[in-house]
């Protein structure tokens, strides 16, 4: 066909991506199916996964809760930004982006400083006579950390979707007798579904795999699948079990994004731009 020549330009890229995304996933499968000591084929690692279903369930729970909270917090903000003047939109968009560019380790650490028993918030509470309360090392703190870190991932796709909604549709709905609330429920909300789905995916995926947030803000109970994988590689010296766990995580995420894509129209690239 007419563009045959330019199509050849994609060949090196395809080779690169196969070499550094597909093949590594194959290596993960290989490790997951071999014995750490002998290097022989085994189902052992997959059998060992049995003790981690609880951890996996907990990770999914935390991330889903965080994604929903992000949605509730992010939607009004995205809606607000989308209805500013173009200049204001650009500035606000940048302000949402900016935290994403800064070291998330340090920002999480700042939360530790805020939440810990001897931290800024508790110092303040003690000062006004309320007394110190347990903030850090609670499930709430982990959810807070996730919401804080991944909220921009929710706001940006939501904004991108809402800003594209034709204002004439709102007028048409009003013309047909919808009240403000009805306009929102019957027109705006259904039209922002793609943004909602992509936002949920974008929050859920990093949240379900995080290990730093739970290590820093969680207690001894808040062990997430990411922690377990990190520990298998960095301390437990069992990359094979780690690979098996990564495999589970990957399958989980692919199922999730698959479901999301099924419900939403898959606009390529809409999520980030």
């Amino acid at each position: 066909m007419k563009k045959n020549n330019s199509a050849l330009l994609s060949t090196p890229y395809i080779l690169w991506m196969v070499a550094f995304t597909l093949i590594p996933l194959g290596v993960v499968v290989y490790y997951a199916l071999t014995d750490p000591a002998t290097g022989e084929f085994t189902w052992g690692n997959l059998r060992d996964l049995n003790q981690y279903w609880g951890v996996l369930g907990q990770s999914i729970g935390y991330s889903l809760v965080s994604a929903l909270i992000c949605l509730l917090l992010g939607y009004p903000v995205a809606y607000y930004i989308a209805h500013r003047s173009p200049t204001a939109q650009k500035m606000l968009y940048m302000l949402v982006m900016l935290p994403m560019c800064m070291s998330f380790l340090l920002r999480t650490l700042a939360w530790v400083g805020l939440l810990q028993d001897t931290g800024i918030i508790n110092d303040f509470l003690a000062f006004i006579g309320v007394g110190r309360i347990q903030l850090i090392r609670t499930p709430g703190a982990v959810v807070l950390g996730m919401v804080y870190n991944y909220l921009p991932y929710m706001i940006l796709p939501l904004y991108a979707t809402i800003v594209k909604i034709d204002h004439r549709l709102v007028e048409a709905a009003e013309d047909l007798g919808c009240s403000g609330v009805q306009v929102f429920g019957r027109v705006i909300l259904p039209l922002s579904v793609p943004g909602i789905l992509s936002g949920i995916t974008m929050v859920f995926v990093p949240a379900v795999s995080t290990f730093y947030i739970s290590q820093k803000l969680g207690g001894t109970d808040t062990v997430l699948i990411g922690d377990v994988i990190e520990r298998q590689f960095k301390q437990g010296n069992n990359p094979n079990l780690g690979a098996a766990l990564s495999l589970v995580l990957m399958i989980l995420v692919f199922i999730c994004t698959g479901i999301m894509n099924r419900f939403g129209s898959d606009e390529e690239g809409g999520v980030i731009a």
Binding site: L8, P12, I81, A110, Q116
Partner: protein
């Protein structure tokens, strides 16, 4: 409705920026702790620019992100043009492939790439060094590419196809047509893609954490290990500067874009394409910088006459020049100018062991503990030392020779020794409760107790408490220990290693078992802290010794370094800061007499008889213990 929405939005923005404000504030704090603002100072910024180590890490991070984003931008743009020309079905497949790194969790991407590099490099090609600068660069390019492509593709799709046709119609061959026309049309996408790739690369922690070796470490990975120790306020200063830089960068970009938008609607003159020219200049500048950085690195990296000595040591385990101490590494480099030290840290024997046995890195010198040395000897992971290069070995006290872990004195030279006891805060902990290891199970202090985050030390405490042999190979006993440790979990604040410094010093936690030398350091920083050794129940008496792992490439230089550290004067200067006990009696004359007589640092023989050494555990027992410990923690 609108008003509440506005207030809500403002609140969310405050929420997003509070932690940043805390960090910025902390960079001007005279105090070290993030939570107490003691006074205003610029000192942290001065320190930052004097800290070569930190600046080098920042340089590393900038180098890798500029190179990776520049390569990904060019590569990705070319690829996008190619993908655009593919048939729809194939295009869809390729876009799915592109989306894999985007949808896959970072941890999976990191794990899979590190496994690939180790598998190919170490297992297939037999390289020692399979995790290098280059593999890190490959990883960064790989996760940068989708950002470029996903930003360029929509621009290509939007572009009027007949524009390229028009250029060819007017005499351009395809390549010039691309540069004269297509490039201009998709440039905004390329610039956005490049900037996103750059910031993602600069801030990436998870993937780099898994993929980087020891010779080339980026800032976020180092910050991760920093955050375990009391974090140096100069890191906040760096954060503040980076924040300001990125803020200004984004602001200028936005303003430029706004201005060029305005130009579009208002301008009539010849200077119409100013906005785009700025873009072009920016892009050219970024490319140029990348090129310079790249060639600079290559020029630097290929300078052969300099030997790089890779040392992998515990955190906080060598005098680093702070608090008026001697900077040991620098002193060594001054004495041997042809050797450059590359220093990285771990915080437990197990982490070090994992890193080495996973392969893919080069390390010339490590300082493991006794039982780990035994294990590594057993597994052929250490090289016999050439004692001709270590004449200072003569200063090592006889009592530290012919040890159980290295009976023939072939593989190790003792570095420090010490005990493991309990550090507690006298302000909160009732002396009456300080009766033995059971203090760590005391519900009265629930939520304020820390515990070792490594299996051997944690099981050791349970074994002393239950009266078992710490070197047992009896699985039933280990099971019982695991039960005991599970029992402890509800009262624990967290499992830690070096995080203990920060948490104990700022009194976030009150009770923790740790190594005596480090306890001394903490006690110096917080006078409420005290050290207790449960003599009746028994305690661990450990020796950490310098060894050369089998992956070493600069054995001779490593031996020089060992020799240097065994110089009594150097050892004294080092131990003065580290807080641990020196195995070199000659050194004691240079130390503060008060330290030498301190029973925490140098317990008397009558105490020492109650201590036991950890010795070698067979491979299967170590694995069993580790898996039990994982189970305890994941329970």
């Amino acid at each position: 409705m609108k008003k509440t929405n506005r207030i809500f939005t403002v609140l969310i923005f405050i929420f997003l920026y509070i932690p940043m404000a805390v960090l910025v504030l902390a960079s001007f704090n005279t105090g070290k702790d993030i939570t107490d603002f003691e006074g205003f100072t610029f000192q942290r910024y001065v320190e930052l620019f004097q800290d070569e180590h930190l600046l080098k890490l920042l340089g590393n991070s900038l180098l890798i992100s500029i190179l990776a984003s520049a390569i990904a931008t060019v590569f990705g743009t070319v690829a996008a043009v190619g993908i655009h020309g593919l048939k729809p079905k194939m295009r869809k497949t390729v876009m799915t492939l592109t989306n894999i790194p985007m949808t896959n969790p970072d941890i999976v991407t990191g794990v899979s790439l590190s496994l690939l590099f180790v598998f190919v490099g170490t297992k297939m090609l037999g390289q020692r060094d399979s995790l290098t600068f280059w593999t890190l660069l490959i990883a960064h390019i790989t996760f940068n590419l989708p950002y470029v492509i996903l930003n360029v593709m929509p621009k290509l799709n939007q572009m009027d196809v007949s524009l390229t046709d028009a250029a060819m119609d007017l005499g351009c061959t395809p390549v010039p047509a691309f540069f004269r026309v297509t490039l201009h049309e998709i440039l905004p996408g390329i610039v956005t893609g490049a900037i996103m790739a750059f910031t993602m690369s600069l801030d990436d922690f998870v993937i780099s954490y898994f993929v980087s070796g020891l010779d080339f470490v980026t800032l976020p990975v180092e910050i991760y290990s920093y955050t375990k120790k009391p974090i140096q306020p100069r890191v906040y200063a760096m954060f503040t500067l980076l924040f300001a830089l990125i803020f200004v960068l984004m602001l200028t970009m936005n303003l430029l874009q706004l201005r060029s938008d305005k130009n579009k609607t208002e301008r009539r003159g010849k200077t119409i394409t100013k906005g785009q020219r700025y873009f072009r200049r920016l892009a050219a500048l970024v490319c140029l910088l990348a090129l310079l950085a790249g060639t600079g690195y290559l020029a630097f990296g290929t300078r052969q006459e300099i030997i790089t000595l890779n040392i992998y040591n515990w955190g906080q385990y060598i005098a680093d020049g702070s608090d008026g101490s001697m900077e040991i590494v620098k002193a060594f480099e001054e004495k041997y100018p042809h050797i450059k030290v590359n220093y990285s840290t771990y915080d437990s024997n197990e982490i070090m062991y994992s890193k080495l046995s996973n392969g893919g890195i080069t390390v010339d010198l490590i300082i493991p503990s006794d039982y780990m040395i035994a294990r590594m000897i057993q597994e052929d992971m250490l090289l016999p030392l050439d004692f001709d290069n270590i004449p200072n070995y003569q200063y090592i006290d006889e009592s530290f020779k012919n040890t159980a872990y290295d009976p023939e004195n072939k593989y190790s030279v003792p570095y420090t020794w010490g005990t493991v006891g309990i550090l507690y805060n006298t302000k909160y902990v009732d002396e009456a409760d300080v009766t033995g290891w059971e203090l760590l199970w005391n519900e009265k202090y629930a939520g304020k107790i820390l515990m070792f985050g490594n299996s051997r030390d944690a099981f050791g405490i349970a074994q002393y408490l239950l009266g078992y042999d710490v070197n047992t190979t009896d699985r039933a006993e280990l099971d019982a220990c695991a039960e005991k440790l599970k029992e402890q979990k509800p009262v624990l604040q967290q499992y830690v290693m070096d995080e203990i410094f920060a948490t104990m010093e700022n009194e976030e936690a009150w009770i923790a078992p740790y190594y005596a030398g480090d306890c001394l350091v903490m006690m110096e920083n917080n006078e409420n802290l005290a050290f207790y050794l449960p003599e009746e129940q028994g305690f661990n008496l450990f020796i950490d010794a310098m060894c050369i792992p089998s992956c070493a490439q600069e054995k001779e230089a490593a031996e020089l370094f060992i020799n240097f550290l065994c110089d009594p004067e150097i050892s004294a200067a080092n131990m003065d800061w580290v807080g641990y006990a020196t195995p070199i009696s000659e050194a004691k004359q240079y130390l503060d007499p008060e330290t030498v007589s301190d029973p925490v640092a140098y317990p008397g023989d009558e105490t020492l008889v109650n201590g036991t050494n950890f010795t070698y555990l067979p491979e299967d027992i170590s694995r069993y213990m580790e898996s039990l410990f994982m189970e305890v923690r994941n329970d």
